[in-house]
């Protein structure tokens, strides 16, 4: 590791240097008008109890589907694009209007 001197301490040197973290765009979950709902009785890994398929995890642009035997969706950031529902080979995911979740709003 090269030992490098620091710049002069009288200088603050403000620079546009970003550090990484989630939610740069805030709560992108607020973008969606429909949310994906997974039917665990149809979902292949959930049904068989074994890791398999996981196509919803693969194709999610926003990395909000978990690669778990019972897949979960992070609704904080899910933008509701519907790709998971479209690509699910066993039609286990349905896109449901957000309206259904407004009253009382239980998280699913």
């Amino acid at each position: 590791m090269r030992e490098v001197p620091m710049p002069d301490s009288r200088f603050k040197i403000l620079t546009s240097a970003s550090t990484s973290g989630p939610g740069d765009a805030g709560r992108t979950g607020s973008w969606r008008v429909e949310r994906p709902v997974i039917d665990l009785k149809r979902c292949t890994p959930a049904k068989t109890g074994k890791s398999s398929c996981h196509l919803c995890w693969l194709y999610c642009p926003d990395n909000v589907v978990s690669k778990t035997v019972e897949p979960t969706i992070d609704l904080e950031y899910c933008k509701g694009c519907g790709i998971c529902a479209e690509e699910c080979p066993v039609n286990a995911i349905e896109m449901v209007s957000e309206e259904a979740f407004i009253e009382g709003g239980a998280d699913e």
């Binding site: 550090t19 989630p22 740069d24 709560r27 995890w57 693969l58 642009p61 990395n63 909000v64 896109m95």
Partner: protein
Amino acid sequence: MTKTTKTNVLNLTSEEFIHPGNRACSGCSLSILYRIGLKALGRDCIFVVPPSCLTVMQGLYPISATQMPVLNGTFASTAAIATGVRAAMKRLDKKTQVVAWAGDGGTSDIGIQALSGALERNEDIIYICYDNEAYMNTGVQRSGTTPQGGLTTTTPYTGKKETGKNVPDIVAAHNPAYIATCSASYPLDFHDKLLKAKEIRGLKYIHIQTPCPPGWGCEEHMTVKIGKMAIECGLFDLYEIEDGKKSFSEPTQKLLKKSKLRPVSDYLKLQTRFKALSEDQVVAMQKRIDLKWEKYRQEFNT
């Protein structure tokens, strides 16, 4: 030919290198390919990104969505900046991968000079062009790769008159160390080509067709399907060229056995950006594709 790994969904790492809640559009296929691509590249990377959709995905200062170091730079100089980073890595004796991620505008239009220079010098970098076929970040203006007939804000009403540039062919004329085409709809294919590229020295160029729902005028949930259709219709082909030898990737390779491919009108119908195309233009497009595949069959079918 360098050995190819075959990654599948099960053995693909679940480690993530990009944070959710970023500013990519809902259903963005760049998000898919970027997310999966990063799994192949790993953390020992430095990225170079010009103004583009990916810049917006990086995030606004001071929050970044990508977990690797990223150097944002001016529009025309992606390949040159990457050259500078690579030269520095050489001086520091580091094996850190230097990866440029540019859009079609930043590659085939304003960025082509710097790319050509980097190719001529055979810089040891991976240059990735994600091609959504227009200047999407600034609201869908026509670019060098916008296909004929494509409606954009700067080719309104009648669509683009000219055909798009074939950037992989332009790049291939420079004889790079490795050149590959990919699709955002086949992220595992992209992943494995990246693994291969990491092991090759010299300039590796990867061109990825990146469907864009708002820019192409299709539904968000159809992103992956549209990309697959472009391949099924024989419009966009997945291949690699190494040591001057071209070989098709599986989704395209399997089409060689068919005598007739899916009609391109299926693909065009699904996108409102093609609604200005006339019957004659569609017929002409189909003819061009048919001719191309006739040549492929002659060359590659034994």
